[in-house]
Subunit: 375 residues, 4 copies
C-alpha cells in the first residue's frame, strides 16, 4: 500500500497532523514539525499616553561593511523579533570585505527595502559615521544619501562628516560613548567636540545601551542636555547567536509606526531604551511605561497576619513583556516577570504604595520611584 | 572582609542582582535565581461577545481519594496555570488510601477554600459519582454536601446517586464517555441510563475532553441534546508531570469569575473545551472565540507574483494563547501559533476569505468554517 | 470513511506518528504529543577514582508529616530527576495533618518501597529529629524503626532522640544549621550540644546545602571535625514547582548504588554537595570531581596574537552536567556549561595552568584551585 | 560610593556573580547573563565498532552564491552545533549576488579555512554542480579547484561538469533527488544520466535527506547500487532560524575526524543520515548505531502482573542524543528520548527481544529490526 493512498485518505478525513512528518507526496517525508516556521512573535509593550510603543533598532551591520549577514537576514530577524522599525548603519569609513563585496554603505538599504515593505516594517536610511575614538562613532538616521559621507578617517573630516549628516537633515546620535573606556583613558567623557555639536544643536541623541552594555554615565548627559535616550544592538553577528531573550532596542512612543511619526517622537525625546531586564529613560517616559504595564487590582481577600495585623490581598499584574523589580518599604521585594501576576498582601490601612523600581534607570545613579494608589 | 559588609555596600549602591546567589546574610548564600518563583502566568484567551473567558477545570483528585497530592497543591497549580475556577471531585464510592487518610469526599474543598480565596480563585464544591461502567462516572458540581452521596457501587444505587446530585441542585455531567471503549465493548454508546437522565433533564453536560483524550463521538451527542461541552484534566498526579503545555480545561464565557456567573454560562452552554491544540465547542461559541482571537489586518503591501497576478499582503494575527490551523482554498495552510503574526498574500480581487479551521471541532466529524471579510 | 479505517491503514504502512493525536481508536483522539512521558533523564556526573557518583537526596517530606504529596510522588520525582538513592525523613515530633492522616513517621517508607524497587532506586529508612532551635533539627538515616523516636519536643528529650538514632546505628547529620540565623540570634553557631555529639562520635555529617540555601559557615565546621558534607532538598512541595534546574543533592562516591556502598562512602566522607551551580566538598573530593569532568585537549591550532606572541589553542571540555567557573591569571574567565566545550588559546610557553574554580567551595572562604598540565 | 569601589570589593570577596550585570567598570553595566556565550554543545553519538561518529554537513551556501551569510557564520554554526566536518558547496553555475559580490565558488573555503582550523573543524573543499532538473544537482567534495567548473548550465556541459569533479578525484553525490517531484513530473526517477554515472563508477553517494525532506525512494537506489547514504542541510539561511533541534547531517563512522579518514569512511559507505528523529542507513550501519546507543540493563526487579504472570523489570537506556521509537510484539511502544532511560517489564521467560525500530530506515519501505538478548 503506497504512501500516496494514505495521504489521500488522511486528506479525505481532514485530520490535521501538524507536528509530524507528513507523507503527502510519494516518496518524500517532510519534517515540518522540526522546522522553525516563519512567524512574528508578539512583543507586548503597552501604549503610553495614547502613543504606541514602536520597537526600534537603529544600529546594525551587514556584509556591506563588517557584519556577517546579507541584508535580508536583518529583515527576517527584525520581523521575528517583533521590531517595528530599523535602520542599517553601515560604516561610511570602513569596509573590511571590499576585496569581495562592492563598497557602498547605502546598498543594504536598497537591497532590503522591498522585504521591509513586504513585512510591514519601517526601514529608515542610516549610516555610521566612524571616526577615531575620541570622539568615536555617530549614527545618522533619516539621511538622504549614504554615498555623500567621507570614506576615510582623517581627523579633519570629523566635523565634515557630522555636518554632512546635518545637511541631509539627519537625526544624529552618539554611539556607545564608553566603548573604549578601559583602552583609551579619558575616552568616556563629555568631550569638547561633542559639546560643540550639542551647542550647535547638531546632536540629538545618545546611545546609552549598545548591545550587552549599558553606558550609565551617558544617562545624565542625556538628561542634562535634553538628548534623546537610545538603545540599539549594533549587531554584526546573528541576533539568535547573541541574545538569550529580547534584543537591545529603543521603545519610541509615537502616533504610529511611520517614519514621520517615529522621527517626531525621537525629536520630542519620547523613548525608553531596553536592554536585558533594564529600562532607561527620562522620568516621564519611564513612569508612563511602568504605569501602563503594572496594575494593582482591587482587594480580593483580607486576612490577619501572625502579629494580628490586618492585611489586604491584591493582585499585582504585568501584562507586558518587560520585567519590573520593585521594592517598597514594608513589603517583600517583587520580581514581576513578563505576562505574570503576583499576590501582594498590603497592610490594611495603606491607601498607596511607593515602589522603587530598581531595574528602571531615570538617571545615572537614580532608579524610578512611583506612587500608586491602592484600589 | 565579611560578606555582610559586601552586602551592605551592594545595598547602598542599590544595584539589584536578581538572578544570583546573594550574600545578604552572614554565612548564607541564597540561590534565588535557581528557584521557580510563585507567580501566575497569564493565559490569554479573549472575551467573546462581552463575556470573559473563565478558565475552568472541574475534575481533579487529591489524597482524599486516589490523587497523589494534598489539596493545597491543586490551588497552587490552578493559580500558576492561569485557571480562574476549579472543583475537587473526589470519588464518592472509592477511597483507596482510607487505611491512612480519613474518608471524606468533601474534605479537600474544606482544606483548600482558604487558599483558593487568597489566590482569587473560585472554588466550586464537587464530587465524582463513580459508578461501574456502563454507565460510568458523572461529576456533580455546585453541590451542597458531599457526605450525602452513597459510598458504594451497588447497581441499584446508580440512580440514587445521580438523584442526590439533582436534589442538591447540582450541575451534572457525564465523564470521559469513551474511557473504556476498548475494554468494555459497547461502553462508548449513548445508553438508556443516560438517555433517561437526559429525558428527565438531569444531565447538563458531557466531558468531551478528559486529560489527554478527546472523545469525539460525544461532541455530536452534546450538540444533538443541547448538553454543555466540557473539558477537564481528571488529574490524579501532578499537572507539571503530565502536561507539556496548558492543561485540558473548559473555557466558560461568563460575565465574571464568580460561581454564579460560571453556573449561568454553563447552563446556557457557553463553553469551549480546550485540549492540546484542539478546541471543541458549539459552532456559535467556537466561531466567537476564533473571531475574537484571529484578526486580519488591512493591506500593508502589494506585489505581483510569478504569474503576474496581483497579490495583497495582510498580517494575520493571533494575540491569544490558542493555536489555529487554517486552510483556505488557494492559500497555503497556516499554523497560527500563540501570540504570533503571519504574512499572508491574498489574491488582489478577494474581498473575503473562508477559513477551514482544522483544529476546531464543531461536531464529531465537523471542523469550524468561518468567512472573514478582508479589510 | 471512518477513523478506524484510517488507523488500520496508518498501522499497515508502519508510519510512526509520535507527536500527534492519533486516531487509532474509533471516536478517540489521544494527545500523546502533549503528554510528558515517564522517563528518567540522565544526569551525567563522572566517576571519581573508580567510584561512581551516586546521586542522593536524604531529606524529604510527604503528607505523613508536613509535605504536600503522597509518597509515590517522591519516587516519581527521584526517578525523573536522575537520583539513585533517597530517604524520607518525616518529622518524629510534628504531624500537622494528623486530623486527616494517621500519624506514622515510618509510613512513607512502607508505602514507597515497592515503587522504589521497581524504579531501581535505593530507598533508605530515615527520620527527622525535629528539636527546637537551637539545637535545631537532625536527620537520622539508615535507621531501623521510625516508631521508636519520641513524638514531642520537650527539651529533655533532645538527647534521648539522638541517642535513639545512635542505638539504631543511624548515620546522623545536623540539618540546615543556619536556617534561623536571622530569627534566633546565636542559633547559627557550633553550640555545646552539637560539640558534645561530636565528642561522643554521634554526629557524622552536616547539611551545608539545604534547598536553595548554602550555609557556608558549616563548611569549615565539617572540615575541621571530619564531618561528611551533605546537600539535600528538604522538599515539602513539588520539585517541579521549586527548581529551575537540578535539585539540591549529595553526590556520594561509592562502589555502587546499594545502601551498603552508600553508607560506606558517607562514613568515609566521600561526598560533594551540589546546589545550583555550586559544588561544596572536601578538597580531595572536589578536586577529583573537577578532574574527572573537565579535560584539556591537546593543541589543535597555533597562532600569533596582536602583540606577536605565540598562542596554542586547546579545547577545554566538560562532558558532565555540572558547571565550572574557572579563572587563571592571564586568561579570560570561563563559564564551562554542562556538556560543552570552549576554545582556549594559551600562551605557547605554558606547560600547565592553575585554575581557580570559583563555584567550587572547599572551605567557608576557600575555592578550589587545581593545577592542570597542558598536553 | 562608586561602582568601582563595589567592583573591587566584590572581586576581593571572590564572589562570582556570573548571570548578572556586573559593575566592574566605572559607568558600564555588562549584561553577560543575557548574552549567548560562544560554546560548543556536545552532541552525543556513540562510536560504532571502534569507529567514531564524525558529524558532517557537506552542503551549504554563503553570500558567494545564494546563501544569506558570510562564511564565518558557517564556522560558528558548525562549531556550536557539534559538527566535526563540513564543506561549502557554492553553486558553480549560479551567483545571484554577483552585482555586489565577486563571483568565486571557491572563495568561501578560503575565507573560512583559518576559522575552521582554529575551531578544530575539518573543512573539506566542495562545490555544487547545479544542472537543470533533470538530472538536477550534484555535490563534489574533496575537490582541488572550484574555479575549473563550468559556470553556465547549457545541457551539453552536464557531463563536462561531473567529469571535472572526477578529474579532481572528488567524491560525487546526487543531491535531493526528489526536490522537484511535484513540479517536474518524472524528475524523481533513476534516470539514464545518473545510471550512466553509476555504470562508470563516477557516482559515489546520494543525498537521501536534504534539509527538512527525506527522499525515501533514494534509499533503495543507494542500497541497490552501493551508493553512500548522505544527509545534509543545504542551508542558505541561518541554522538557528530553520531547525528546532539538531540540523540534518551525515554521521560518518571513521577512524578520526581527519579529511582522509572521513573520505575512507564515505567510500566504504559507513554512514547514517540523521534528519529530525529519523535515521537512514545501510542495515549494518544502522544496526551498529542502535546497538551502540541503546542498552538493556540486567533485571533489577521482578513482579507478578494482574494475570498472575511473572514479569522482569529492566532499564532500557539511550545515552545518545538520538531518538529511538521501538516496538516489540507483546510490549508497549517506546519512544526513547535522548539521554534517557525507561523501565520495561518483560515476560519472565523471555531471553531476547526483537525490536522494530520504526524511526530507523534501512530501505525505502523497511525499518530496522534488531534482536537483543536480555541479560
Amino acid at each position: 500500500m503506497s504512501n500516496r493512498i494514505a495521504a489521500i485518505l488522511i486528506a479525505a478525513l481532514s485530520i490535521s497532523l501538524p507536528h509530524i512528518a507528513t507523507a503527502a507526496e510519494e516518496g518524500i517525508i517532510r519534517l515540518e514539525g522540526d522546522r522553525i516556521q516563519k512567524e512574528r512573535k508578539h512583543l507586548r509593550i503597552p501604549a503610553v499616553n495614547g502613543m504606541q510603543a514602536i520597537k526600534c533598532d537603529f544600529h546594525m551591520h551587514t556584509v556591506f561593511t563588517d557584519g556577517h549577514v546579507w541584508p535580508n537576514v536583518r529583515v527576517q530577524e527584525a520581523w521575528r523579533d517583533g521590531l517595528d522599525a530599523f535602520a542599517f548603519t553601515e560604516h561610511a569609513e570602513y569596509a573590511p570585505y571590499q576585496a569581495d563585496v562592492k563598497r557602498d554603505p547605502g546598498r543594504s538599504y536598497e537591497l532590503a527595502k522591498g522585504g521591509a515593505a513586504e513585512h510591514n516594517l519601517t526601514l529608515v536610511k542610516g549610516i555610521e559615521i566612524t571616526r577615531n575614538t575620541p570622539p568615536g562613532h555617530f549614527n545618522a538616521i533619516f539621511i538622504k544619501d549614504a554615498s555623500k559621507f567621507p570614506a576615510d578617517r582623517k581627523e579633519e573630516l570629523d566635523q565634515v562628516s557630522v555636518d554632512e549628516a546635518i545637511a541631509q537633515d539627519a537625526f544624529l546620535f552618539w554611539n556607545h560613548p564608553g566603548w573604549k573606556a578601559k583602552e583609551i583613558p579619558g575616552s568616556y567623557e563629555w568631550i569638547p567636540f561633542v559639546e560643540k555639536l550639542h551647542q550647535e544643536k547638531k546632536l540629538h541623541g545618545i546611545e546609552v545601551a549598545n548591545g550587552h552594555g549599558i553606558h550609565t554615565k551617558a544617562i545624565d548627559w542625556a538628561l542634562e542636555r535634553n538628548l534623546t535616550i537610545i538603545g540599539n544592538t549594533d549587531v554584526h553577528n546573528l541576533i539568535s547567536h547573541e541574545y538569550k531573550g529580547h534584543r537591545t532596542m529603543t521603545l519610541v512612543f509615537a502616533k504610529d509606526r511611520s517614519a514621520e511619526a517615529i522621527r517626531e517622537a525621537l525629536v520630542a525625546g519620547r523613548t525608553v531604551a531596553w536592554a536585558g531586564k533594564y529600562l532607561i529613560g527620562r522620568e516621564d517616559n519611564a513612569k508612563g511605561l511602568f504605569e501602563a504595564a503594572v496594575k494593582v487590582a482591587p482587594v480580593h481577600h483580607e486576612a490577619t497576619d501572625r502579629n494580628n495585623a490586618k492585611r489586604k490581598f491584591r493582585e499585582v499584574t504585568n501584562d507586558s513583556d518587560l520585567v519590573f523589580e520593585m521594592k517598597a518599604r514594608g513589603l517583600p521585594k517583587i520580581v514581576l516577570n513578563p505576562g505574570s501576576t503576583q499576590l501582594v498582601s498590603f497592610p490594611a490601612e495603606w491607601t498607596e504604595v511607593e515602589w522603587q523600581v530598581t531595574n528602571v534607570f531615570v538617571g545615572t545613579e537614580k532608579r524610578l520611584k512611583v506612587k500608586v494608589s491602592l484600589p
